[in-house]
Subunit: 144 residues, 2 copies
Amino acid sequence: MSISSRFAVGIHILALIDLNKETASSSEFIAGSVNTNAAVIRKIMGMLKKAGLIDVQPGVAGAKLSKELSEITLFDIYKAVNVVEENELFSIHDKPHPDCVVGKNIQSTIEPIFMAAQSAMEKVFQNLTLEDIVKDIEAKEHIQ
Amino acid sequence: MSISSRFAVGIHILALIDLNKETASSSEFIAGSVNTNAAVIRKIMGMLKKAGLIDVQPGVAGAKLSKELSEITLFDIYKAVNVVEENELFSIHDKPHPDCVVGKNIQSTIEPIFMAAQSAMEKVFQNLTLEDIVKDIEAKEHIQ
DNA sequence: GTTCTTGTAACTGCATTGATTACATGTTTA
DNA sequence: TAAACATGTAATCAATGCAGTTACAAGAAC
């Protein structure tokens, strides 16, 4: 099990759009940087657009960020690309036997714990923005 | 995407073994409570055994916990059933283009963030034991 | 109007999950 | 000792999701 790379690619796309803002970033260009197919990029960009993170026009090359770098959290991207459903990071077996002490109560015991674990993970993304990503990339670039 | 229910089932199995300790809990009996096939239970119990959480003998009905309830954390179970690999909860696209500012640096920028998110999630399980689960189930039982 | 772009749909190969069946091996007991 | 019952494990199956690929309609720009 592993969470889809759409999330990592989404971050890559947005960072690239910003760092390449003098030029238009076509899906073909972005695909070259990500190392995948342009249709894959367009699909993910469609999700980012739907979430209000970028502006893209059919037929027009390139995309622009809809908000400031500091206003786009990693959590926004995470939700946009739909890699994990709300409170469904962990699967729970359904219909445990209702006549059993454990079967009867296990779901309501485990659910809040799984929700807490998922929340703890998502909070990390809520506290980071695209600005952090872009600054980190720029810092690495200046060292070299 | 969703993390395998093996984790939830693993917790169910261990809680049931404890709460049913007067009787031997055969894989068939546990399967009835979980509502699945006995072979599925035996496979998961094999993982729990391999991790040193339970004692089972081929041919002998039932299993016993190898440790005290308070000494088995949910993280132990989580690792035992192998639902998420170490530092691989999130996938990262590989071979981004090395000649691109973003492609060159994105992996090393994102990796520590993904690791931190996974750790935050796992910490929740490190701080809970089977004792918490069993007590919660018992408390619910007493209300009814 | 040709060329380039985005937006989508359809199809592929691959991996994982969970259920199921089957059977070898070990244990108990009558 | 033989029958009954248990675990351990392999093989198979359907369903699902991921990522890559091809194809093409629709929009925009030169």
